[in-house]
Symmetry: C2
Subunit: 338 residues, 2 copies
């Protein structure tokens, strides 16, 4: 495992792929590997890309990756599909991506689909990002499909979040309602050569002006926090980031330069306002919370005999016992291994 980690840190692509598989599937040695990689992390710029199916996210990430590569920066791409939690299906954009970026050793692409719970996917995504970060990829795109809480959860791992819309995906108001506008640092109207693109862009801008949305860093502070609220970044009025709306036609590279400029501006804003530090601290808090929760639960399950659970569940089902009283009873058992 040590040799594998070392090889991955030394840009050995096969070792990197194998390490990602270990991490993604939580195979033996995963914790050792992650601990060894950890000191090398924290250098990548992590960009989340999300939006409804059909908005052309994969092509957009593709175009962005090529532009950043042309500027000499290395790029990792993590494509996550949380909308297919049971099928574990492949990611549709893969073929396009492979065709355009294959053979470039400055790019590494990893597709992931949910196999278990969303919690498991969030954790696996975070760990895969961490491996690519440690391996020295300078910009890491995390692409998710859909428009729901899943994307918000995964977006938490990102520093800059792009929300992609496209004209003609049904009613504009509906699209916004479905939306994840609140988590956007940069909004993109992709497929801007289609009819209705101006309307979509206008609707998004109106929505932004109307809503005075909180900045992304404010939003993250709503989540299960271990730290006092006053430590939240972006609390001074001067540091508010207003998400710009950029129109693009990804396959023709139209608007990609503007989008890169908007992304760079957001990154600069994060650094200058020290929001980047605060974001990282919040990501760490969330991770620590998740890990503690999982560890506590594992310890409990080890300490309480299976028959006790079976009996409690039976008594809840027969309405002898209500769920909260059941919890209190289990937690007051003397022989927990804690």
């Amino acid at each position: 495992m040590e040799a594998l980690v070392q090889a991955a840190l030394n840009h050995d692509r096969r070792a990197l792929a194998r390490l990602l598989t270990v991490v993604e599937n939580r195979r033996e040695g995963v914790d050792t590997a992650l601990a060894a990689l950890f000191p090398h992390t924290g250098r990548a710029w992590i960009i989340g890309v999300t939006g409804a199916p059909g908005t052309g996210k994969s092509s957009l990430v593709n175009a962005l990756a090529k532009t950043f590569r042309a500027a000499g920066r290395t790029v990792g791409i993590v494509a996550v599909d949380p909308t297919s939690p049971f099928s574990g299906g492949a990611i549709m954009g893969d073929r396009i991506r492979m065709r355009d970026l294959a053979g470039d050793r400055g790019v590494f692409i990893r597709s992931m689909a949910t196999r278990g719970s969303l919690g498991g996917l969030s954790r696996a995504t975070r760990d895969v990002i961490r491996v690519l970060d440690a391996a020295g990829f300078e910009i890491i795109f995390v692409e998710t499909v859909g428009a729901g809480q899943s994307e918000v959860d995964i977006a938490r791992a990102a520093q800059t979040t792009i929300v992609v819309e496209a004209p003609g995906l049904g009613d504009d108001v509906q699209a916004i309602k479905a939306g994840i506008l609140e988590i956007a640092d940069v909004l993109v109207v992709n497929k801007a050569d289609r009819p209705g693109a101006d309307n979509t862009a206008r609707a998004l801008k109106a929505m932004l002006e109307m809503g005075h949305p909180a900045t992304r860093t404010d939003l993250i502070s709503h989540h299960g926090r271990l730290m006092p609220a006053e430590s939240a970044p972006g609390s001074s009025a001067a540091s508010i980031w207003i998400p710009p709306v950029v129109s693009t036609v990804a396959p023709e590279n139209t608007g990609i330069g503007d989008l890169v400029a908007a992304l760079e501006a957001h990154h600069k804003y994060l650094i200058e306002t020290q929001a980047l530090d605060g974001l990282e601290r919040q990501h760490i808090e969330i991770e620590l919370y998740d890990r503690l929760q999982a560890a506590l639960m594992a310890r409990l399950l080890k300490g309480v005999p299976g028959e006790v659970f079976a009996d409690v569940i039976h008594r809840i089902q027969t309405r002898e016992l209500d769920p909260q009283s059941a919890v209190d009873a289990i937690l007051s058992l003397p022989d927990q291994s804690c």
Copy 2:
């Protein structure tokens, strides 16, 4: 609180509304109230309704509620909007619903939007359903917006799940990809008077035949379980439920009779195969797991000083300590109140 619970059990609508507010916002006395209500639960038929925005879910639930009401059955409706986790916005279908069903004392409607985490919303939804169940509503619809893990999580509370599609919401393949087909017990092509409805229905049927999707009860067994897998219901081949595809035009009541028949058939299937019992047991397992996790975490946070967390987070951020070692260190502290 006791008087409020008693009044709600006696069909006092104002008491019921107040009790739902207590439960939804976890106000003082919530646990006492839920414990008192619990013996009266387990009688309602819980029907989940989900699908992308613009598919006409609210009108469909409306039409179903009117049909069930005409047959003399009482109906509760819980409308959940997990796609707007931060704005806490209103549910769009409310106005239509209120107009059609207002004044009918056999119907109770409750709208919920996320204010905190998805975990919080799942819990609040489960508790709101429980209150309506205890208050004697025979059929409870749980309507969620979107297409992602959020809906899967909320659908876990349902016994029968309807997935609603509509023609013309972008590419069919995309709609299916985005989809939540896997959790459907009954598929509906609503707005079936629109062009392309036949294609949508055909695509869904092809998808079902191709995919041989697991039954809903099988799927639930993938989640964090406390019980051995062999206790999962629906494991015999004879008990497989193939989701039917029903076309409807909700505002004109077209196809609603067929849909009700399909729902009743699924309910009958659940009862005859004893899958209903198994589903309930699995819902209880999931709830017990969630509640234990929350209780363990609360106990830990109480026992470990805030400065310890602040210090650990700082050391992770400076890469002195990796997250898993931090967890191990916190859990081995001697003075946890556990």
